[in-house]
Amino acid sequence: MLSQYFPIALYIAIALVITASVLGASRLLGPRKPSPQKQATYECGIVPETTVGPRFSVKFYLVAMLFMIFDVEAVSFYPWAVLMHKLRLFGLMEMVLFVIVLAVGYAYVWKRGGFQWQE
């Protein structure tokens, strides 16, 4: 068990060292001549009027919530899929029931315009 993940842990450490050194290199190698104009927020050349972020569509939150629900369901497919050769008809029936429950929720979200991006 551990021996499966030890090489990966070692690789993660090495990958972190590489990326951190790239990040550090950009600080060490470049010139440094800061000025207020240069460090202002980019607004196509106009002086930015607000410092707070813009308002954005609440749809993005909805997408994130729907993703959470459906992705957890998608992940629960994985162990079932791996064991499908052994479960056969029993597994198939169980999964059909599961998908029916999933489909009801999916149809509800669709009906209420959860996948609709244009008013």
């Binding site: 690789y11 927020t41 607004e43 972020g53 198939l92 991006w117």
Partner: protein, 326 residues
């Protein structure tokens, strides 16, 4: 001890190869795009301009580091780090050849082979989402924030269909271990029984890596440069590296799951693996040269209303086929 040394050497070689492949890929992409458009492309540095990426890298490294005063410094620096690290790690479990014998040891041609290889790749590539969203938020710029949000919404929407498209392969192989999946394709590549899953996977892998026609996070005519508007020099390059290395990883996963991995006649297996990955990489460039960008509402509708149900039906159809077959 010897095993640890081998793992360290393998890790450094893998990371270096991925970064070198990124460099070469930028040159290949510019060259192939130029061919599509009847122009020579980069041709000044080295034979056929092959040294161009070295010059570009050097130039980026010597650029001034500009951090906007309004930005959240810590998160601003963390975001490209997360992006590139996740991109590098995801490749760790993909086998690029059969195990070889070296110094009396059996050395597998991958960093590590956990029995949940497929899940590992998806878990780590999901972490890559934090790059755009954190970078977009920490820049304190409206274009960055909108680009980051769009990117995140798109990636998580298409990830669902991607995850479901792969379940067909898991059913057919009866394992989530990438080595077993490759071994099961010795006679028949899974692209044949899983053609629907393959098509969905290829569409979603283009969307996952934010490439044309799904490159809305970087729609320059509305969002300047999307989530990396405020990034300069090597930090911008880190986002680019992450994007290209992610392209390599999803291509390598497609090869492993659907095209028989490193299996192939006559040529050495590592070369076969490289050729198959190169095929997908060429496909990415081909798409970029051919297709215009999608509209955002259509992109989201396509992911949720078309790809997700089709992927689910494909999974069920595969299950029916396995359950009823003798």
């Amino acid at each position: 001890m010897l095993q640890v040394v081998i793992v360290v050497v393998k890790s450094i070689v893998t990371a270096t190869l991925l970064l070198a492949a990124f460099g070469l890929m930028t040159w290949i992409e510019r060259k192939v795009l130029a061919r599509f458009q009847f122009r020579p492309g980069p041709n000044r540095l080295g034979p056929a301009g092959v040294m161009q990426f070295m010059a570009d890298g050097l130039k980026l490294a010597l650029k001034e580091e500009i951090i906007p005063t309004a930005a959240d410094r810590f998160v601003y620096l963390l975001a490209p780090l997360v992006s590139l690290t996740a991109a590098l790690i995801a490749f760790a479990v993909i086998p690029w050849g059969p195990p070889i014998h070296l110094l009396g040891q059996v050395v597998p041609m991958q960093i590590g082979g956990p029995n949940i290889g497929v899940l590992f790749v998806f878990a780590i590539t999901s972490l890559g989402v934090y790059g755009p969203i954190l970078g977009g938020w920490a820049s304190a710029n409206k274009y960055s924030l909108l680009g980051g949000l769009r990117s995140t919404a798109q990636i998580i929407s298409y990830e669902l269909a991607m995850g479901l498209a792969v379940t067909g392969v898991l059913i057919a192989a009866g394992s989530a271990d990438l080595n077993t999946i490759v071994a099961r394709q010795y006679r028949l590549w899974f692209i044949v029984p899983q053609i629907v899953g393959f098509i969905i996977y290829v569409i979603t892998m283009v969307a996952e890596t934010n490439r044309t026609p799904f490159d809305l996070p970087e729609a320059e005519n509305e969002l300047v440069a999307g989530y990396h508007t405020e990034y300069t020099g090597l930090k911008w390059a880190m986002y680019m590296m992450a994007e290209y290395i992610n392209m390599i990883t999803v291509s390598a996963l497609a090869t492993t799951l659907f095209l028989g991995g490193w299996h192939g006649p006559l040529l050495p297996p590592e070369l076969w693996f490289l050729l198959k990955v190169a095929l997908f990489m060429y496909f990415f460039i081909w798409l970029r040269a051919t297709l215009p960008r999608l509209r955002y509402d259509r992109l989201m509708a396509f992911g949720w209303k078309v790809l997700l149900p089709v992927a689910l039906l494909n999974t069920l159809a595969t299950a029916v086929w396995v359950a009823t077959a003798q």
